[in-house]
Symmetry: C2
Subunit: 458 residues, 2 copies
C-alpha cells in the first residue's frame, strides 16, 4: 500500500515515536506541581518550547501548545479579534484558507463582524497588492496560509506580511502545510501549525503570538500555556512533536528536492497519460510533495476507491466525495475543474518506484470510472439552433458528460442548454468550456434548477 | 521515590502504553478519509467509542472525545448554557467544584449570567435538599462533581440528579476523580472526565451528552466529534485511554478495598503522630485513594519540599503553594484549616510499605518545618484587657503561630487582636479557634489590613 495523503496526516516519524516513548515515562506528571515528577515534566515542556521556538524563529514565551492545528487557528483568530475589538470589527482572509480559518471567519460574521475574502488567481495564489488593498483602518486581523493544503500553491506571505505591518494589522499565518519544510519568512504576527502534518503525533498544535500583539484569550480562564490553551498539558506528545519537527527539518532540503522531482513527474506525465485532465496549482511556487489534478467525466469518490483497490491512498477535493456534496471551496475559488479531482501528497521518504507504479495504474483507473459513468444517453430535445440537455436530478460529473456528448450535434454558433440542479455544475461547466475552447455564455434560472448555456465555437 | 499525587495525574497504565503503541501504527490517519488508512483509523475510533460508552453506561453516540477533562467541562457547560438560553440564565454549581467548572461559571457571570454556588458542610459535601432548593424555573444547568479532588469526599450525585430531573434541569457531573472506580449512578444528563486521572495518556477528555439535552456547540463549526470537539482526532491516545479505563475497572473493586485500608491508616494515625493536625474530608463517603490533612503552624510548600526530599510526592491546597497566594477554594468552602495542607492521593498499586514509610517520616518533616517558622517573637503591645499582635506583612502560618504564642498572656475572657494583611488568616484564625476551643469573635477593618479578634475561653 502506498500512502500518498501526507497533506491530511503523516505517519508518525520514528524519532517522534522514540521521543514519545521516553517522555511517557518522564513527562506524564502535572508540570505545575512542585514534586520531583512535576519538575521533570516541567523541564521537558520548557525544553520542547525552546526547541519549537528555534524551529519557528520566535521567542519561547511566544509559543503556545494547543491540542490541534484547528484549535491553534480558532484560538489565535478569536484572541486577536477580541484583543483588537476597539480597532474595529473587520477580518481579512484569503478565499482558499483551511476550513478552520474560514469557519472562524463565519463565526465572526455571525457575531456581527465583517469579513473580506481575498480572491485567488487560477493557480490558487493571492495577489499581494489585492490583499493589501483589502486592509482598512478598522481591520483587526488578516489571515493567510503559507501554502495551500489542496493544491500546494505557496502564498506570497512575506509581501502580504509587509503590507499588513505597514498598515498596523497583525497577520496570522496558517503554516500547517509548510512548517516541516522550513520557517515562514516575513514579518508575520501570529502563526498556527499542526504536528501530525510533519510526522508528529496527533494531539499537538502550535500557536505563536508575537510579543506586542493585543490578544484576549476567550472562554473560561485557565492558567496553563499563558492562559491561551486550557487543560492539562500533553507533554509526551509535545516532546514527540518537536523532536519530529527537528528531524524532518534536518532532512528538509534534500527531501524537498527529491519529492519536487517526483511531483514534477506526475505534473508532466498525467496529462499525457490520461485524456481530459487539468493539473491545478502553481507549477513553480508550490510545496514539494503535493500535486493535484482533475479528470473530466470522472467522479472523485469512485476514483479514490479505484486507486485504493490498486494500492494507493490519495484524497479528493471533488464535489463527489461522500462527506459533502459541495465542491471544494479551494477549487471553486480558483475557478478550475473540480470533478474527478485527485490530490497526491507524498510523505517524506515516498519511493520513486511507487510513484511510477501510480502513473502506471492511473490511466486504467480513470478509464474504468469514466466507463461506468458514461453509459446513460442524454435526453435530447431539439429547439431550433439549440439543444437542451436535461440533467436534472443527476450528480456531477453526469451533466458535463452529457454536455460533451451532444456539443457536436449543434452547428458551430449553436448553443447547448444544460439543465442541472447539481451545485457542482456551476463550477464544472465553465471549467469544461475553458478546457475545450467552447464559449460559456452564462447561466439563468430554469423552471427547475439552473440552465447553463454553452455556445459551440469549433 | 513514592508518587502519592495520583489525583493530579496518574502514571501511564501498562495497558494504555501497549494500546498506544499499537494504535500509533494503525490509528494515525484521518478517519474522515476514504482510503485504507483512514478506514482503519475510523474503525479504531468507533470501537473506542463503543467501549467508552459501555464503561460510562451511555450510548456510543452520546460520547465525545475532547483534548482534556478541562475542555470537556468548558464545552459541556457552554453548550448547555447556550442551548437552553431561552429557559434562563441561571447556573448552579457547588462551592467545591474543580476550577474548570468554577471558571466556566465566572465566564458565564461575565456575560451576564447568574450563578448560585451551593455551600458544603465541614466534610466537603453538599446537602441534597440545599442543592435542590437552588433549582429555579430559569435554571439552565446544574453542575456537581462525583467526588472532590482535594479531599476525596463523595457527593450525593444520585439524589441531586433526581431533584434536577424532577425540575427539568440537566445535571453535569464532573466525574474526573471517580470514573476509574466505577460508573456514576443516578439520572445525570452530562458527564465529564479526564483520562490521565485513570492511567490513560494526557490529551484525552470525555464528554457525555445524553440524548434529549438541548446543546449548542460554541465557537467555529467543525464536523468532527458530532461538532462538539473541533480538531483532528487523537485516535492513538483515545484508544489507549479507553483501554486503560477498562483495565483499571477490572481491578477496581479489589484495589479500592486495599487503598481504602491504606488511607484509613493515614487518617487514623496522622493525628496521633503529629500534634495539631486536622484530617479533613468525609471519613466514610470518600474516594478510596485520597486523604487530606492540615498541620497548624506549618507552611504547605515547605512541607512539600521536605516530603519530596524524603522521597514522597504529594500536593497541597495550602495558601502557601507557589502558584497562588489565596488558599484552596475547597478548604475555604469547608471552613477547615488550610495551613500546612497535604493531600496524599495513592495511585492504584501503591505499596503498603511506602505508606508505612510515609507515616514514619511525616512527624519529623512537620516538626522541621514548624521549627524553622517558629522563631520570630511576636511584637506585643498591651492595651488594657487586650493584646495586639502585629503580623502585618507576614504570610501564613506566621499570624496563627503568633496568636498561639500570646493567647496564654491574656486572662480568660480577655481578647487577642491579630493584625494581618494575609488573606489566609481569614480562614485559618477561625479554624485555629475551633481546633483550640477558643472563641472567634470576628474581624474588623484596621488601619492596615484586618483585625481578627479572638477571646480566650480557657
Amino acid at each position: 500500500m502506498s500512502y500518498f495523503d501526507a497533506a491530511s496526516a503523516a505517519p508518525l516519524h520514528p524519532v517522534a515515536r522514540q521521543a514519545l516513548l521516553a517522555s511517557l515515562d518522564d513527562g506524564w506528571a502535572d508540570p505545575a506541581r512542585l514534586h520531583r515528577e512535576g519538575r521533570k515534566a516541567r523541564l521537558l515542556l520548557d525544553a520542547a518550547r525552546e526547541a519549537a521556538a528555534e524551529a519557528v524563529g520566535c521567542r519561547a514565551d511566544e509559543v503556545v501548545f494547543t491540542a490541534s492545528g484547528t484549535r491553534a487557528v480558532h484560538t489565535g483568530v478569536a484572541g486577536v479579534l477580541a484583543g483588537r475589538r476597539r480597532v474595529g470589527r473587520h477580518l481579512i482572509v484569503s478565499a482558499v484558507e483551511h476550513s478552520s480559518v474560514l469557519h472562524s471567519a463565519e463565526a465572526f460574521e455571525a457575531e456581527g463582524g465583517e469579513v473580506t475574502r481575498v480572491a485567488v488567481n487560477r493557480a490558487g495564489a493571492v495577489d499581494p497588492s489585492a490583499y493589501a488593498a483589502a486592509l482598512r483602518p478598522d481591520s483587526a486581523l488578516a489571515c493567510l496560509q503559507s501554502a495551500n493544503h489542496e493544491v500546494g500553491t505557496v502564498q506570497p506571505v512575506a509581501e502580504v506580511a509587509g503590507a499588513c505591518r505597514a498598515a498596523g494589522v497583525p497577520l496570522l499565518v496558517d503554516a500547517a502545510q509548510s512548517l516541516g519544510w522550513g520557517p515562514v519568512g516575513g514579518d508575520w504576527s501570529l502563526l498556527a501549525a499542526s504536528a501530525h502534518k510533519w510526522g508528529g503525533p496527533p494531539g499537538v498544535g502550535l500557536l505563536v503570538v508575537r510579543k506586542g500583539v493585543r490578544f484576549a484569550a476567550q472562554g473560561p480562564v485557565d492558567e496553563r500555556e499563558s492562559g491561551r490553551a486550557p487543560g492539562f498539558e500533553n507533554i509526551p506528545a509535545v516532546v514527540a512533536a518537536v523532536a519530529s519537527l527537528r528531524a524532518v527539518r534536518a532532512e528538509a532540503a534534500q527531501e524537498a528536492a527529491r519529492l519536487r522531482e517526483l511531483t514534477e513527474r506526475i505534473r508532466a506525465r498525467v496529462p499525457r497519460l490520461v485524456p481530459d485532465v487539468e493539473v491545478v496549482g502553481d507549477p513553480e511556487r508550490r510545496l514539494p510533495g503535493i500535486v493535484t489534478f482533475s479528470c473530466l467525466y470522472a467522479d472523485g469518490e469512485a476514483l479514490l476507491h479505484e486507486l485504493d483497490r490498486a494500492g494507493f491512498s490519495v484524497s479528493s477535493g471533488s464535489s463527489c466525495t461522500s462527506s459533502t456534496l459541495t465542491p471544494s471551496h479551494v477549487l471553486k475559488a480558483m475557478g478550475v475543474l473540480s470533478e474527478g479531482n485527485v490530490r497526491v501528497s507524498l510523505p517524506p521518504g515516498a519511493a520513486e518506484e511507487d510513484v511510477e507504479r501510480f502513473l502506471d495504474v492511473l490511466p486504467a483507473a480513470v478509464a474504468g470510472v469514466r466507463e461506468k459513468l458514461g453509459a446513460p444517453a442524454p435526453a435530447v430535445r431539439a429547439r431550433s439552433e439549440e439543444l437542451v440537455v436535461d440533467s436534472l436530478g443527476k450528480r456531477c460529473p453526469i451533466p458535463v458528460i452529457e454536455l460533451a456528448k451532444v456539443i457536436g450535434e449543434v452547428p458551430v454558433g449553436g448553443t447547448v442548454r444544460v439543465l442541472s440542479d447539481d451545485e457542482a455544475a456551476r463550477l464544472d461547466i465553465p471549467a469544461w468550456c475553458q478546457m475545450r475552447g467552447q464559449e460559456y455564455v452564462g447561466e439563468e434560472p430554469a423552471e427547475q434548477g439552473t440552465a447553463y448555456l454553452v455556445r459551440r465555437t469549433g
